[in-house]
Symmetry: C2
Subunit: 341 residues, 2 copies
């Protein structure tokens, strides 16, 4: 067993934000290194995840999980290596990914572990991105809810994001025409060159709707929606008979309490015999390895591209979620812990 | 072959309505009795159907069928008996149901016939109601889109209507708790006593939402929606995880052009991993007999109740659609043609 430091660096939720959590809502503290009890093991985190959903985890409104308590370690996925174990199922050197929190060391009894990371030939950080919740979400949401068929037109919003870029590429691998909705010239370029979309449209441009219609000459069969709001309203108007709208995220709407108003979709869904369906990746937890296996195969043979943005050191954590909402990131955002963290 | 009259009574669309078609938009005319060509047969209609969807059939906006032309026979389902045939597949005496129009006699080459009515032990009018599009719609929309499971709570709007009452009863037969949304004391009574709902709530009462919540102590698993609008908004707020919202009609919203505003459902569908899906019975045309066979069995053994409202004579036709929208009917509205029609 490696020699452990005396203290553990942790990012705590200092106060509860209204809306997007900012740097000021967090504080980094040093706490005593935990002592393992029987049935526990200690993980040295190498990468901490940063994702939009974490905004919901710190807000008071009941969402699909209880909010992080003020004063508690910020909830997050993280990936690391087991450095000490009193658990028969985990050994020193095991690579694991799970809900380990924004901290350097995490004690687990196994219940917070999502999986052992077995892809030793691939970077550990991928278990937080394209081989993690992002990729697994894209895989099941697209294939199980979107049900793409060869020749379908599949439109993806936040198409350059870590979920969207995977969804678009999986749709292309399924034989679909893929259309990206993204913002700004650099993300347009990424969508077309890095992620292989057949077309890309810029929601920030004045001619967005015309460009969208032009990019979908045969209408829209699957809409993989990460945004909601005006972007989605435009796509929904152009769905085909029998279309599937996958609600995977609502990034463009900042507040859902009270529910904002928008155009009613009922008549349109009826006339098109179309469906709109929400997707929660937790419902597919029992099939996680099935998705990772597919995704890892595509990563290895080069047919699934990904992009990571690696922030260095725990000091980057407090502002990292706010940065996502400022749209400053390109690719899956992770924090790589440093020896001194 | 029975002796045929010289003329055929027909209801023509006289002018195109904006909104709900009124009596003044139709006229009854006598036209020469058609002469059969080879491959054709003549149906003497006994019952003409009256249904809310006919409003859409006469309006100019492209819906899911072309509008009835001004001066054309009003499109409708009808049921009758073959009285002359030059078609090898149809013989005198065959009972048929199809898109035969609001007229006493209809020529067909078979393409307008939906089915031969083989349930000789049951009234022919049922082929326009509980054993017709209404029943078949309720059957497939509930079972294929709603996917009811034993113990589920199923809420039905326009629960006393010809589609809703069938949907509610089929849900009860599937082992569900069924909750009716309807308007006024007589329809409340029908829902509880005639159609066997476990609970009924009156959307016209001030305490509607509270009553709805009380009637669904375990939340809502399936919402069979015939109304849209404020009624549906109340139900949607109380759906359970994994709920299915079947969009079968939008009777409470009078105008969809432009799309009216309502509360955005995306976040809620996401949080609940729920779906909202439109249903068009035409998509199940190839499985029509499967549904009729089930429904007829339930009618025969008394487990599926229905209610008809029979208007006498073609003179009742012009005002019959408007009457539906005035809410004056109880049960599936049909027009029984008289000998002089």
């Amino acid at each position: 067993m490696a020699k452990l430091p005396q203290t553990n660096a942790q990012v705590l939720l200092k106060s509860r934000p209204q809306g997007i959590p900012q740097a000021e809502h967090f504080e980094i503290v040093q706490t005593p290194m935990p002592v393992l009890e029987s049935g526990q093991f200690l993980v040295r985190n190498e990468f901490l995840s940063v994702e939009p959903a974490m905004r919901g985890w710190v807000n008071a409104a009941a969402n699909y999980s209880d909010p992080v308590p003020v004063g508690g370690v910020m909830r997050s996925f993280a990936a690391g290596v087991v450095v000490a174990s009193r658990h028969h199922g985990y050994s020193e050197g095991d690579r694991v990914m799970g809900m380990l929190g924004w901290q350097a060391y995490a004690v687990s009894d196994g219940s917070t572990i999502r999986r052992k990371v077995l892809e030793d030939d691939l970077p550990l950080s991928l278990s937080l991105g394209v081989l993690g919740i992002n990729g697994v979400t894209a895989y099941f949401a697209l294939t199980e809810v979107g049900e793409p068929r060869p020749g379908d037109t599949v439109v993806v919003s936040t198409a350059a994001g870590s979920v969207g870029s995977a969804a678009g590429q999986i749709a292309r691998l399924a034989g679909c025409r893929t259309v990206a909705i993204t913002g700004g010239p650099e993300k347009m370029r990424m969508c077309l060159e890095d992620f292989g979309y057949d077309a890309a449209v810029d929601y920030k441009s004045a001619g967005f709707v015309d460009a969208l219609v032009q990019a979908c000459p045969r209408g829209v069969d699957v809409y993989y929606d990460n945004t909601s709001g005006a972007i989605s309203d435009a796509v929904v108007r152009h769905i085909n008979k029998g279309a599937r709208i996958v609600i995977c995220g609502t990034a463009s709407v900042s507040n859902w309490e009270p529910w904002p108003a928008g155009p009613r979709v009922e008549r349109h869904l009826l006339n098109k015999a179309a469906r709109m369906q929400g997707f929660l990746v937790w419902d597919y937890e029992h099939r996680y390895e099935e998705a990772v296996s597919k995704l890892a195969g595509w990563v290895r043979n080069g047919s699934l591209q990904y992009r990571e943005e690696i922030l260095e050191g725990m000091a980057a954590a407090p502002d990292a979620i706010a940065g996502l909402y400022r749209g400053e990131n390109f690719g899956k955002r992770v924090i790589r812990l440093q020896p001194q963290d």
